[in-house]
Subunit: 140 residues, 4 copies
């Protein structure tokens, strides 16, 4: 893995609100009951919205995906892929500070990690679609 961008100042509430609005609109457009979490560069929760009728578990899973993305400064899908490939990749299942599920993406400002978004509620590819809609507002 190449070295990821450094941590920068945490995402502001206004920035988070724009990312959230985009992601939430994408979820609603598809009528997907989801939880969407946004954390700052230090890993602290900045914003969470749980859409109506979301399953309870997704509220914590969304946060865990965002935490994975910011704590490792990488999309959580990298870890999902590694587990899927088996062999050495299975060791990731032994890590309790990592959730190997697609749907967690870093958010960037000026080339540095400002935070991350995590989405949960549907298939992980659908979760990822919603996360990506938000993350395009703060690209690397």
């Amino acid at each position: 893995m190449s070295r990821p961008p450094s941590y920068g100042a945490p995402i502001t509430l206004d920035e988070a609100a724009r990312v959230m609005a985009a992601a939430q609109a994408e979820a609603r457009r598809n009528d997907w009951p989801m939880a969407i979490a946004i954390v700052g560069s230090g890993g602290h929760l900045v914003m969470l919205h749980a859409l109506d009728d979301v399953q309870h578990a997704s509220i914590t899973v969304a946060q865990a995906k965002a935490a994975t993305a910011v704590n490792f400064r990488r999309p959580s899908k990298l870890f999902e892929d590694a587990v899927r490939d088996g062999g050495l990749g299975l060791r990731l299942l032994g890590m309790d500070n990592l959730l190997p599920l697609d749907g967690g993406l870093p958010l960037y400002r000026d080339g540095k990690v400002a935070g991350a978004i995590g989405v949960s509620g549907m298939q992980s590819t659908q979760d990822a679609q919603v996360a990506a809609t938000g993350a395009t507002l703060m690209p690397v």
Copy 2:
């Protein structure tokens, strides 16, 4: 203590957004860096906004205040008062699912508990002021 209202259906995202907007406006009007958390009647987080420059600790404290208010269906101040009075009230400090700090209030719909709001970041009386501004939108 009298018997509190029963649990009803959880607060919707739209309802939470209105409560949040009122509370957030009150915090911003006073230039108070705060975290504001809203949970549903099941105790699950529905919405959290952390204003810029909030101290890290307030993000978890706001959630704990909301959890206290919904899990006991009472304002968290009741428990603060009991601890302050000492004696038997001190036993509350042995409960790990209760935060005896003002700033957590139940939210109601049609006479039932729909959720709760918790606020943290300043003095607990100021936290409570912001929580009350939100809670007036969903009175008992």
Copy 3:
């Protein structure tokens, strides 16, 4: 309580090494077996040294004191004092993200919180003396 300084960029390893050297020298000068922890502005551990013969408990207590100081952006002694005064201050004992023991101090750079130091191993006034010796290198 007045509003504390904002969070800035986290303490660097070189800065932490200078703070640690000063604190550690003070501990050794007094022959005090202590644990000394330094965290960054995000609350993540940057440096920890446990002097020989320290009691196990102090290793986690030092980290909790540093966490308290950075997460609340205030000296942990403020909370110790509040608990000592009783009454309303006792509610702090219900908070599980706060250690009301002297010996945790924020570290500053350019008027912002860069991290915190926490010391444990002797009386809390002695812990505080060692923490202060380190913290003088990064004053507010």
Copy 4:
């Protein structure tokens, strides 16, 4: 697996400082942002240094690798290999006091386990290279 050496007295701070210096120099020589943790024979943290720009997750992972090495008195790579091989080895993923990732090594004094070093931040083979550089100072 053969019976590993017994536990001896814990590593001293001076010993840990020498191990840390060697490992840290190897990390810096390669410009690898890493966290390096050293625990004593009782499993308690004796020294931790987080190099600038390390990802948050590595600070806890380094400690977990060191804990694995000392708690099982074996290099953490043994468990990584077992998981990679599948079958019965997968049961290790059910153990929450074991991290099956290369980069954790016991440290010895007089043929006994004095502690362990854990490194995280890059590929686990690179983590292991840095851990080994430190561990050569306290061979079995």
